[in-house]
Symmetry: C2
Subunit: 183 residues, 2 copies
């Protein structure tokens, strides 16, 4: 049974990127690449990838600057209404509703899990459609005060697992459902 | 040697209170009152308390509704430019700079620690003055999307300790210093 997982790094104050579109707060932290919640162990379980347009454009810019190739072998869907360049044959653009794309992604994943890379708004759209199973965060030891929000919605989660990887607090949550405003 | 500590609960997405000024996201969570990072063990180490005006007014309203008395025996400073009612003889209002008040608080604490209750902006003012030693968070398994921010500044922290208390991820950080924007 394929799970759909929002796996991401975040600042302690709940941002995925700062106002400078920089990930220096993340990439300068010590991490054990084969330790708890490692990317290598995670990506081995993934059969399809979802990404918002801003995240995708960040990756394109990063790869252009660094010379890095597209990092993912898995079939990848980019949610956008624009005509963006395709980074690889495995990438497709979509403007369809998340539920429709999710069905295609799950089929493509063939029993492996679906990774919602980000941003927070796309992850929240999956959750609102009842299609997000888990939120898995690696919390970097920084605050940035403003930037791209982790998950811009009211949701209840259930804590499944806590661990530490060097500078990071790592936590895995089950998505319970929307949290109503108080009476 | 007295430490100054910002000890608080926060949502996973970095808010101390939601837009409804409600703490229902916090008070409905299961917690072990004598478990890791418990309030009881913490408050026993505290000799003086700092609070922002909004936090203080929230406590006053809460106590008025619930009939609860002022909860703190420790001498308490409320940072405000207004003339607010005093909840107890141990409460004083101040409009002085944090550094000046911090000296008085440390003297009053007499070797015990100083607790910055919140909000996030007051904690950040102590940090900017180089007077905040630790940030200690209990992260509730909820997202609220918007509200009062945990720590509205760019700061580097050092992770000292991670634990779990029922629904909460608990983490203790040393405040390293301001984090500069990327080049």
């Amino acid at each position: 049974m394929s799970r759909t997982i929002f796996y991401t790094a975040t600042t302690l104050d709940g941002f995925l990127a700062d106002d400078h579109h920089s990930l220096d707060w993340l990439l300068t932290q010590p991490i054990d690449e084969v330790g708890p919640f490692s990317y290598g162990a995670f990506i081995a379980t993934i059969g399809a990838i979802a990404m918002g347009a801003s995240t995708y454009e960040w990756v394109l810019r990063h790869n252009e600057t660094s010379g890095d190739p597209w990092a993912y072998e898995e079939p990848s869907w980019v949610f956008t209404h624009r005509d963006l360049p395709l980074a690889a044959d495995s990438v497709q653009l979509t403007a369809a509703p998340v539920a429709e794309v999710h069905a295609a992604m799950t089929a493509a994943a063939d029993g492996r899990d679906v990774w919602v890379v980000g941003g927070g708004d796309l992850a929240a759209q999956f959750a609102e459609a009842g299609l997000l199973d888990e939120v898995v965060v690696s919390i970097a030891p920084v605050t940035v005060g403003s930037g791209k929000p982790l998950f811009p919605r009211r949701f209840d989660l259930e804590l499944l697992e806590v661990d530490r990887n060097r500078a990071f607090v790592c936590a895995r949550y089950r998505v319970v459902g929307p949290r109503l405003p108080p009476d």
